[in-house]
């Protein structure tokens, strides 16, 4: 009897792994903590995904449909892994629904969580209603289809994007020194979306440096400036305050290119959130004894295999944002690679 594979997490990486395993005819169990597949992009109603500017349903829809319809894939929603005993290829996995399943390989795709911006008190999130997160802005677009100031429902005249909130910041400890990778590009996209719909709104991006790497440079850095008139100012926002006189926010920063400190009125401040390992990632690392970065606690691949989706534990593969900040399409690619690796791992055992 062919051994089966357990995929933990039903987000982009987990779905991609489960889809390729199902296609290869390998019995697969996909466990997802939430009661819906799709991960953060679907659960949290992202509006448009970078870099292909597609909707989450467009990108992840085919994966969800195929995984749900493939008889080889057993999807268990609202289920978590409680304990794992034994070694590959004979893992005994205890699930939160009381079941125990026998699997030959495990794919960990437990993802990330958003940084909680209340930890940066000086930025005023949770204090001033017009300070929102970039996730809330996505939901404003996707759920309500309009841009407004939460304090009064009106269209903001000036919008500021505050880059690197919870990223590249040793003040939070060694845990948050890493770059979030997606923030610069998403802000360029969100800024463009605002300007496209409301050309009269002024959009400012406050950055330390702009990291729209590779082919992202034009669509998410040059185009926002050239085509939509998004303004980029080098300088990290030091603090956000509120003026009762005009009911507007103030952002304080130094324009470090022209050497000019400034305090500027804003109507809407968007915090660009960093990524941290999800609670599920931390939990599964403990259960399986997976190697973690000593500082940021994301999962680390083993060095011996050369591959970056092979974990330190034989028969366990790691994919997606549980290993560190990653964009959705790379996450999908890693999931597919992990699925193929897991299949090869089982095949090798079977044929031996």
């Amino acid at each position: 009897m062919a051994k089966s594979v357990l995929v933990i997490g039903g987000g982009p990486a987990g779905l991609a792994a489960a889809r390729v395993l199902g296609k290869l005819g390998i019995p697969t169990i996909l466990v997802e903590k939430e009661d819906k597949l799709g991960g953060r992009p679907i659960l949290e109603s992202y509006h448009t995904l970078i870099p292909r500017k597609m909707k989450p349903e467009q990108v992840l829809g085919p994966f969800i449909e195929e995984v749900q319809n493939n008889p080889n894939v057993d999807v268990k929603l609202g289920t978590e892994v409680e304990a794992v005993e034994g070694e590959a290829p004979n893992f005994k996995v205890k699930l939160s629904n009381g079941e125990t399943v026998d699997v030959g390989a495990i794919i960990v795709a437990t993802g990330f969580k958003h940084f909680d911006p209340r930890r940066k008190g000086e930025l005023g999130f949770g204090i001033y209603p017009d300070v929102i997160t970039n996730l809330q802005l996505e939901q404003m677009f996707s759920k309500e289809g309009k841009l407004y100031r939460p304090s009064n429902g009106e269209l903001p005249k000036r919008v500021a994007f505050v880059f690197c909130v919870g990223s590249r910041d040793r003040q939070l400890g060694v845990t948050n020194v890493h770059c979030c990778r997606y923030g610069c590009a998403l802000s360029g996209l969100q800024g463009s979306e605002i300007k496209e719909k409301y050309p009269e709104v002024e959009v400012f991006c406050y950055y330390m440096d702009v990291r729209t790497y590779g082919t992202w440079e034009y669509p998410f850095y040059w185009e926002p400036q050239e085509k939509y008139g998004v303004r980029y100012v080098r300088g990290r926002i030091a603090e956000v305050t509120y003026s009762p006189k005009d009911g507007r926010l103030r952002v304080k920063h130094e324009d470090t290119i022209v050497q000019r400190p400034a305090e500027i009125p804003m109507d809407l401040v968007v915090l660009v959130l960093g990524m941290e390992p999800s609670d599920g990632t931390l939990k599964i690392a403990k259960i399986l004894g997976l190697a973690q970065d000593p500082d940021n606690k994301f999962l680390l691949p083993s060095e011996e295999s050369g591959s970056n989706i092979v974990s330190n534990k034989p028969g366990v593969f790691i994919a997606g944002a549980c290993k560190g900040p990653i964009d959705i399409e790379s996450s999908i690619a890693e999931g597919e690679a992990a699925g193929a690796e897991a299949a090869a791992f089982l095949g090798a055992k079977v044929s031996a």
Binding site: E122, M208, D209, R236, I237, E254, T256
Partner: protein, 250 residues
Amino acid sequence: MAEQTQVRKYGYNIPISEKTLQVPWEEKVRVIEEVRSDFRFKDFLFGCLNCGVCTASCPSNRFFDYSPREIVQRFLENDIDVLYDMMHEYIWACSQCFTCWIRCPFVNNPGGLVIIMREVAVRNAFEATKDLLKPYGRVLLKVMTTGNQLSADMLQPDFFPDWGPKMLDNMENLRAKRMAIPFDVGKAVKTAWEVSLQTAIEMYQIWRETGIFELIERLDPNLYNVIMDIVEENEERWEELLEEMGEEQA
């Protein structure tokens, strides 16, 4: 026409002073090396991305040509002339609130670098340092001898020419007014609180061991003499007290 030499500037518009340019290069290097070799230096300076969060947060930057980011940048560039010149005036605008430190994503401590620079400036008895510290002579005297920064009797009209008649009236019968304060303020006028002789003696010990007395001597010999008179008097009193106690016990 005399040859025009271009003077390099820093800050928003500060030319490197003629005086700094005339100091031998080796001497300037020695002074900056003294700053760099301070045991705290490695914990105060890491990397810098020029995000400007320090300068944007800096209260002194709002009022003076002073930028914590520039301090960090000049150290990273190791710009000897500018760093040396900064030690004579620029760094004295820092109000030592350390907001730069608690905001910097690298946890650089520009305010801490300023402390080290100030200490080195004082240790090297820079002329500018003497001038800058002159208005604080009375405070220095009080701190060095009693450990108190300010006391009621320091608020005298001689030192505050802008006081009006109301304030002058306030300063009369100081002792009675202090006594009338309904909670314990030590009932002292010359100090903010009653200073124990033993504590003062221990403090003098610290000044001696750390070389603070010598430092004051180099900065302001007159002030040093006044301080030492009081210190020696207190130390004699302490010795006498110890002797008395010894006799009582015997």
